[in-house]
């Protein structure tokens, strides 16, 4: 790697992912090349079974590819151990899921604090950072409420705060608006594009809603385990 050229944040080369064996073999990814520069905003689209979720899992270091190479900020991830991948998720990645995935019977603040615990930060600093993140998503006043006391939109904002708390470079959002109505969905998308625009956080989002994809700068379409289309998109403000 040449010292003057900044490596791309995410670089997938000829990634395949195969489940099962023989007759029952499923080829979820059949050779994918994808490069994402820091600060980009991607919308990954495609019909179900097209491999977009598998690709997200690979990017998120939750899954390992069967073949191909994955470099994250110049580091070869395919060779990392399970625990090393956990470290990478902890320090560089934030996750937002369709079903929010907050811990039940645990306050919003404690939920946001969770990734910071694994970073081994002292409690006072964790709470300060968690509050800051909650403030950023506009839920500082709901810090001590349990998820069950929050609306879906609020829960998703807590989840975004959790993803943000550790100051990651990348947020991976898997159908973040899948469970929300249009108004709430737009609020969440505004929040995400704000984070992308103002904080320079790279966002990779899986969605099947064209409306939500409008917020992204780049559209990547999956079909049958391959990237069918990858083009820039003119973001229309408002």
């Amino acid at each position: 790697m040449s010292p003057d050229a900044e490596p791309p944040q995410i670089a997938l080369r000829a990634i395949t992912r195969v489940y099962g064996q023989g007759e029952a073999m499923v080829r979820a990814l059949r050779g994918i090349d994808l490069t994402v520069e820091a600060g980009d905003f991607l919308a990954i689209m495609g019909p179900s079974g097209s491999g977009k979720s598998t690709a997200m899992n690979v990017i998120g270091c939750l899954d390992t590819p069967s073949a191909g190479s994955y470099h994250f900020q110049g580091v070869d991830v395919s060779g990392l151990s399970r625990d090393q991948r956990a470290l990478l998720r902890r320090n560089y990645l934030g996750f937002v899921f369709q079903g929010y995935n907050l811990l039940p019977r645990t306050s919003a603040l404690d939920n946001v604090e969770l990734p910071l615990i694994y970073k081994g930060l002292p409690r006072a600093q964790r709470i300060a950072m968690a509050r800051e993140a909650l403030d950023k998503v506009g839920l500082a006043h709901r810090a001590h409420h349990d998820p069950s006391e929050l609306s879906g939109g609020q829960q998703q904002r807590v989840a975004i705060a959790r993803a943000l708390a550790g100051h990651p470079g990348v947020i991976l959002a898997d159908e973040p608006t899948g469970n929300l109505d249009t108004t709430r969905s737009r609020e969440i998308m505004e929040l995400l594009s704000g984070l992308n625009r103002d904080d320079g956080i790279t966002i990779v989002m899986v969605t099947h809603e064209e409306d939500m994809a409008e917020y992204a700068r780049r559209h990547v379409n999956f079909l049958d385990g391959l990237i069918a289309e990858d083009h820039l998109h003119q973001v229309t403000e408002g």
């Binding site: 399970r82 470290l87 970073k119």
Partner: protein, 402 residues
Amino acid sequence: MLLEAFRLALHAIFRNALRSFLTVLGIVIGVASVIAMVTIGQGSQLRVTRDMESLGTNTVMVVPGQGGMRQGGFTADRPFTIADAEAIQQDLSTVAIAAPYNITGITAVYGNQNHFTQLVGATTELMDAMNWSIAEGRAFSEAEERAGRPVCVLGQTVREELFGSIPPLGQTVRLESLACEVIGILESKGATSFGEDQDDTVAIPLKTFQRRIAGNDDVSIIFIEARADVSTVRAIRDIEALMRDRRRISSGEEDDFSVIDMKQIASILTGITSVLTGLLSAVAGVSLLVGGIGIMNIMLVSVTERTREIGIRLAVGAQAGQVLMQFLVEAIVLSLLGGVMGIALGLALGALGAHLMAIPFAPDPFVILVAFAFSAGVGVIFGYFPARRAARMDPIQALRHQ
């Protein structure tokens, strides 16, 4: 991180307080029964030792027959006489005190109250030797003893049963055909190791007993204290030889009396209580094992139930070791809480048992420490397998779990 895991564990435990409590109930019961058993067992051993000490370690009882001591004191065997006791005291250099006495069951009557109790025909010497002290009034004098006067000293139980709140001194109590004046009340002594109430007794002079109650000159027991500088074994040998001679038992024949060494009885009693304590503790120990398996079961259920939570934790960057630690610490904290509750409950039960059995409350700090360590051990052993299962989960599968 360990402190954090501890905090998380407490959070998880109290998030589902009822289930956590039911989970550790096995440990609570196990630890409580071990602690209670050991506490009561040691209390009774202590009691035996203390009883024997109050009697004196060089105390020997001589009773007629080969059956040993019998309730009530009367046996078909040839009884002793006062002369036997006098001979033991005077002829044997190894003996300090030989005090004859009689015992029988009798109904004591005062007014319309009556109470079945133990009547002792005693001498002042015997009362001294047995540490019977007077709480109220006085003991009978040697003159009253020689003359066989109708006077009596009551134990606390008899006094309560017959007189209640009436002052008993100077009143007359009827013992069968004998009407005797109450001249004193004995100091309370509590129950013996055998559970016998030592306060349920009435003492009258031995002569009075022989003439007015038994109608003969018999003595049913001789209480002997060996000299302090002489071994009890030697004193017993002397007593046996003298009594065989006095009772004209030829060398081929067996003794028709028994010499009982109180030390032996003490060691037998101590032996029995320690064997019983051991057995019961072993049974209680099994319930600890069952409690441990209960913890493992619930932890496994908990791990399955919390699959999604584990997935979330893994996704935000928890390493396998951290998840393992979390569940392991949770199991340990859970079983330690159970252990602490068990120790508290066991001590409470032990104290209650000690109170009911009138034995000293003797908690053993070592056993408490062992119980605490054991419950931690249960947490480690039975928590490890579920924790390892949690740590090895695949984050994607775990996140998809419904």
